[in-house]
């Protein structure tokens, strides 16, 4: 079947969306941009293709998400098994790469010991892997580097201690290997991994596996043809595509928001290094836009710095800020001064949650200024980008929009991070039909 791909290369993450001919989303994929846009595109694209398979399974079963509990249970098990297969494959790649690093003068004496230790480390990692993908397991991240990295470091320390070899040697081979492995998307064929995953699910005895197998096979046999691809995002100049496959991220966000909520007239996107205010017409065509200049004050990165500074996870900031009843007044959203501002406030004895609430408010104030310069907020208003996932930011936004523009419907899609990629995919679909960009005929 024909598919249309949109890839949004962001400063932090790279997103891909796969559309079918009927403008329906088949799959979504995300990965970290890792300063290697080429790989990030391939990985995100592959992730979207995997996700698309699950859409095809659902279609094969004739259900919408959340329809049949039994089938959903099976699909969830299949996805976990598939992720496990993929994780094991990458773990194998990492082991091989690590072993290759054990060479040269440094390892002259301890080479064999290190190799033995590595074998032990990876044996243990493989053994504990299924538990990481068990039904109730909570993974901090879905990116291989994050999952494998933290476990490797922990396990290697134990192994090194027991074997009496320096821990830093094991660290060293890991550091040298992880980037290479990360920059190699999983290489095995997806359908093989699906088959292996199916086998795993069956052996775990999820009841319906065998009766569903035939249908899964049929869905796996559907070929996905990449008919047209459009890239967008901040790094789009370096996308490995030719000019006619590149669209402005502002246009993609406008169109993507229109597709998610057709009544959208104003879009706010707060990403890693940009804040954009976009006005669109009833067809999703951009009428006007404003964005921050080179200064990334008040963008997603700002929250990233704050999280680092507070030694917290990015996703923990919002919930803590929500606890505040008395937000601090913070006017500076300068990323460079974020740390200093924070320490000043803490030194003055202000509560962490109050400071955080103030910081969230400051970010939204800045976004409000960009919005007003782009032409204000019109009904309906769609909020997208990574920061739209932050409940404290959303709370402040709702408040300020209401104060300044009155009753306005505010849309936030749980998949809003994919807005740009979605618009890109639709541009791809239209381009493949030979339509002039962006214009419904």
């Amino acid at each position: 079947m024909k598919t249309f791909v949109g890839i949004d290369l962001g400063s932090t993450t790279t997103k891909a969306v796969l559309l079918d001919e009927n403008e329906q989303v088949l799959g979504r994929g995300i990965t970290n941009s890792r300063s290697n846009y080429d790989t990030a595109c391939r990985v995100a694209n592959q992730e979207a293709a995997i996700d698309a398979r699950f859409s095809l399974f659902r279609r094969e079963f004739g259900i919408e998400e959340g329809g049949d509990a039994k089938v959903e249970e099976f699909l969830a098990a299949l996805e976990r098994a598939f992720r496990l297969e993929q994780f094991l494959e990458q773990l194998g790649d990492l082991e091989e790469t690590c072993v290759e690093q054990v060479t040269g003068a440094r390892f002259e004496k301890l080479g064999n010991g290190v190799k033995k230790a590595l074998a032990e480390v990876f044996t243990r990692l493989r053994a504990e892997a299924p538990a990481m993908f068990a039904p109730d397991a909570v993974r901090k991240s879905d990116f291989f580097r994050d999952i494998a990295g933290s476990r490797y470091l922990a396990v290697a320390e134990e192994v090194a201690r027991d074997a009496g070899i320096p821990y830093d040697l094991l660290l060293n081979v890991y550091d040298k290997s992880i980037i290479a492995v990360e920059n190699r998307p999983p290489s095995g064929r997806l359908s093989d991994k699906f088959k292996a995953a199916l086998g795993r699910v069956a052996s775990e005895g999820v009841g319906v596996a065998s009766e569903l197998q035939g249908r899964v096979d049929r869905a796996l046999d559907i070929g996905l043809e990449e008919t047209y691809l459009v890239g967008t995002g901040y790094g789009r100049v370096t996308l490995p595509f030719s000019k006619e496959h590149i669209r402005s991220e502002i246009l993609c966000h406008g169109l993507g928001a229109h597709m998610m909520y057709p009544k959208t007239r104003t879009v706010l996107d707060i990403g890693g290094q940009d804040t954009k205010g976009i006005q669109v017409d009833p067809r999703g065509i951009v009428e006007n836009f404003q964005m921050n200049d080179r200064c990334a004050a008040g963008c997603g990165r700002y929250l990233g710095y704050i999280a680092d500074e507070m030694n917290m996870g990015l996703h923990e900031l919002g919930p803590l800020a929500m606890k505040s009843a008395k937000p601090a007044r913070i006017n500076s959203t300068c990323t460079v001064f974020a740390g200093a501002e924070l320490r000043d406030r803490l030194a003055l004895g202000e509560a962490r949650e109050d400071i955080l609430a103030g910081l969230h408010r400051a970010i939204i104030l800045r976004a409000m200024s960009i919005l007003s310069r782009s032409g204000g907020v019109e009904d309906e208003f769609t909020f997208t980008g990574g920061v739209a996932k932050n409940e404290a930011a959303v709370r402040e936004l709702k408040k300020l929009v209401n104060e300044n523009y009155g009753e306005v419907t505010i849309n936030i899609d749980p998949d809003s991070i994919y807005t740009g990629a979605l618009g890109g995919a639709e541009f791809a679909r239209r381009a493949a039909e030979g339509r002039i960009e962006g214009v419904e005929t």
Partner: protein, 438 residues
């Protein structure tokens, strides 16, 4: 014609029109004149481009030195960044006009001009325009430094959109009672009104050709870029050449060159050669960025965008509205000239001017280059944008850079916005041509 540049940051070959080469030679000659002023016993007047009274200055054998142009040259030569920092070290805030800081920094570092030779100390500071109040503060600083005569010709702001006889007489009185006597005193040269008339007649001749050249952009394709190319074109007439035979020759030469391009149906010449297809016709409001001038221009021409008219090329005179220096009314014409410069025009006048440009030049849209450190230009620009958008129904966009502070030029950000804008224009155009525009 190919010219080899010595700048290491650039590709070795830069394509230039013959007129650009001629222009460069004129500018170089003038900088040599400035460098040799002291040795030759010439006295120097410093003044500004808007309200530049070059004809009058020449009547007193004074050499015209333009600090704004010096700052632009420092920007183009990538010296201004260090100068700006030097000025900041001396206590000038980050928000101060970067022309001023480049100039102050350049003085602090020995006042070396673009030809590598020391610029002269001025004998008189002639401030003939106040639409930009920074000019006043700038000369205040220079007066501290040079302890020389300062002349302040007050130009009433065109707040009501028109020039009245009262305004003109107010200025003529100042010219007679204050400006001319002081210039006589500084220079030791007696004022000769016939000499002034002679220069004014020459100005008018070159002005005719300048207008012809700027309006040639009404052709499709436009034979010129009226912003990036336009900056070369306005150099002589906005600077020290208005009222000279050199200027007459240059604009005649340029006009012939433009005529040839029109006849051949050619577009503008860019540093990478003749522009291919003209895809977007734009009106630009606001000054350009000088620290990354070529990179900035390239973002336009490589997308097929040509600027067909700009307000910036009117800061030294709005000749396309019919004004010419008039030798029969020598002092009145100087007053009218100062009153009419773009920056002395009220907000409604600017809106009207840009709206008319959009229509007359059949432009696809308006682009505003907002200058971080220029309050004079930036105030009201968003309002201008909305209003022009409303009146013409054409899309407008906003980008932000600075004059000569390289820290405020973010190539990726500007390119991002420009490309979005061009694609937006394209979308709107294809929508309109299909009759489905909202």
């Amino acid at each position: 014609m190919k010219i080899t540049t010595s700048r290491s940051q650039m590709p070795t070959e830069v394509l230039k029109d013959a007129s650009m080469v001629k222009q460069k030679e004129m500018m170089a000659k003038h900088y040599d004149r400035l460098a040799n002023a002291e040795a030759n016993g010439d006295k120097v007047a410093s003044t500004f481009v808007p309200g530049n009274l070059n004809e009058l200055i020449m009547c007193f054998d004074l050499v015209n030195n333009l600090p704004e142009v010096n700052a632009i040259q420092s920007g183009l030569r990538r010296q201004s960044g260090a100068y700006v920092m030097e000025a900041e070290k001396a206590g000038h805030s980050e928000d101060v006009c970067t022309y001023v800081k480049s100039d102050i920094g350049m003085m602090a570092k020995g006042n070396i001009g673009p030809n590598g030779k020391k610029l002269p100390s001025p004998d008189v500071l002639l401030l003939s325009y106040t639409g930009c109040f920074t000019f006043m503060k700038w000369f205040e600083l220079l007066r501290e430094q040079y302890e020389c005569e300062t002349i302040f010709l007050q130009t009433p702001y065109m707040a009501d959109g028109k020039v009245t006889e009262n305004m003109i007489q107010y200025m003529v009185k100042q010219l007679k009672e204050d400006v001319i006597p002081k210039l006589e005193k500084v220079s030791g040269v007696k004022f000769d009104i016939d000499r002034l008339r002679e220069h004014l007649a020459k100005s008018a001749k070159a002005e005719d050709d300048l207008v012809y050249i700027l309006q040639s952009a009404k052709n499709k394709p436009s034979p010129i870029d009226a912003y990036f190319g336009g900056i070369y074109y306005i150099g002589p007439i906005f600077g020290a050449f208005r009222g000279t035979d050199d200027a007459i020759d240059y604009y005649r030469f340029l006009r012939e060159e433009v005529d040839q391009r029109i006849a051949a149906g050619l577009g503008p010449v860019t540093p990478d050669g003749p522009m291919s297809e003209e895809k977007y016709r734009l009106i630009v409001e606001g000054p350009p960025n000088y620290t990354n001038f070529r990179q900035f221009w390239k973002m336009f021409y490589e997308e097929g965008a040509v600027v067909v008219a700009s307000s910036y090329t009117k800061v030294g005179g709005t000749y396309d509205f019919g004004f010419r220096h008039d030798p029969s009314r020598p002092l009145e014409t100087l007053a009218e000239y100062c009153l009419g410069v773009y920056t002395n025009r009220s907000l409604p006048m600017r809106v009207e001017m840009l709206t008319n440009y959009m229509n007359e030049y059949q432009a696809d849209g308006l682009l505003i280059n907002s200058i971080k450190s220029c309050n004079s230009f930036s105030a009201g620009q968003l309002l201008i944008m909305r209003e022009v958008e409303k009146r013409t129904g054409k899309p407008a966009a906003f980008i932000e850079t600075d004059l000569v502070d390289p820290r405020y030029f973010s190539a990726a950000n500007v390119k991002n916005r420009l490309e979005s804008y061009f694609q937006m224009v394209e979308q709107k155009r294809s929508g309109a041509s299909k009759g489905v525009a909202a």
